[in-house]
């Protein structure tokens, strides 16, 4: 089948972790002003939801872009195991140097999942709470703008 259609597989995962928003580049008072409650020295936690979308040809033999069991195992190893029930700035090395905002978390998860061998990672969307979500699709032109030209 000639693919004039672009199909993506979406999957949602969950983990719980704590973080503290604090920038060592800023003075104490400035940290408190910018981050407010999120600067509490002992940290606080969230139930994070990670939504990932992968694209690729749909294998006619299986009807799948990627084998779900393989994808689940990869995400478990790359994201759930290192983040679940952890304190990000204390236990995930990358967040020793950058502030563990969910913007930065989104980019970190994207970087980790890009290596999945069976399909192309299109986007990572992280819900920090049911009211806040962040999406990162790599450094490419705004896809909505690209789409507009196709009409």
């Amino acid at each position: 089948m000639g693919e004039t259609l672009h199909i993506e597989l979406g999957r949602r995962y969950r983990f719980s972790a704590s973080h503290r928003l604090h920038s060592p580049q800023l003075p104490e008072a400035e940290n408190q002003r910018i981050y407010g409650k999120c600067n509490n020295p002992y940290g606080h936690g969230h139930n994070y939801v990670v939504e990932v979308r992968f694209s690729g040809p749909v294998d006619p033999a299986t009807g799948m872009i990627a084998n779900l069991a393989d994808l689940d195992a990869f995400v478990e190893e790359q994201v759930i195991e290192p983040f679940d029930h952890r304190s990000m700035q204390d236990e995930v090395p990358v967040f020793r140097n950058i502030v563990p905002t969910t913007e930065n978390l989104c980019r970190e998860i994207f970087a980790r999942l890009q290596a999945f061998p069976q399909a192309k990672l299109e986007a990572v969307r992280v819900e920090e709470t049911s009211n806040n979500s962040f999406e990162y699709a790599g450094e490419k032109p705004d896809s909505r703008e690209r789409g507009r030209g196709q009409a």
Partner: protein
């Protein structure tokens, strides 16, 4: 450009089995989804139409009209059906989320009278879905 989305739910059963592969291979690749008696899901379909609102009606596409198209093309075909045996468009295909989303796209696209079909998102469960776009038009909604 405005993107409008209509959501609809249907319930259907399916199973994954490729007759070109051995029983063991089917079991290994498809796991529980290979159960010969099938199993079911509550599917959630989200259909997004892109377009400019009509200056008189203020609508991209009348939602009532879209609802009727979804009812006729999708609900009547798929709701409370066994997808492998009762949906002609899925014959010879494994009815995964990816393939069902593509079939839904192909059924709907020619029927949309105003605006254009931008995205079909089909949720098989809260944690598994497939998105279908025309090539080159993908992205966040």
């Amino acid at each position: 450009m405005v993107y409008l989305t209509r959501k609809m739910e249907f319930a259907a059963s399916h199973l994954y089995h490729n007759p070109a592969m051995s029983a063991e291979e089917n079991r290994r690749i498809f796991g529980k989804c290979n159960n010969p008696h099938g199993h079911g899901h509550n599917y959630t379909l989200e259909v997004t139409i892109a377009g400019e609102p009509d200056p008189v009606t203020g609508m991209v596409l009348d939602l009532k009209e879209l609802k009727e198209i979804l009812e006729r093309e999708i609900m009547q075909r798929m709701d409370h059906r066994f997808l492998n045996y009762e949906v002609a468009e899925l014959q010879g295909q494994i009815p995964t989320c990816e393939n069902v989303a593509r079939v839904i796209w192909n059924l709907l696209e020619p029927k949309i009278p105003r605006g254009r079909l931008y995205r079909v998102r089909l949720h098989e469960s809260a944690d598994l879905f497939a998105d279908c776009y025309r090539n080159g038009a993908s992205g966040a909604v």
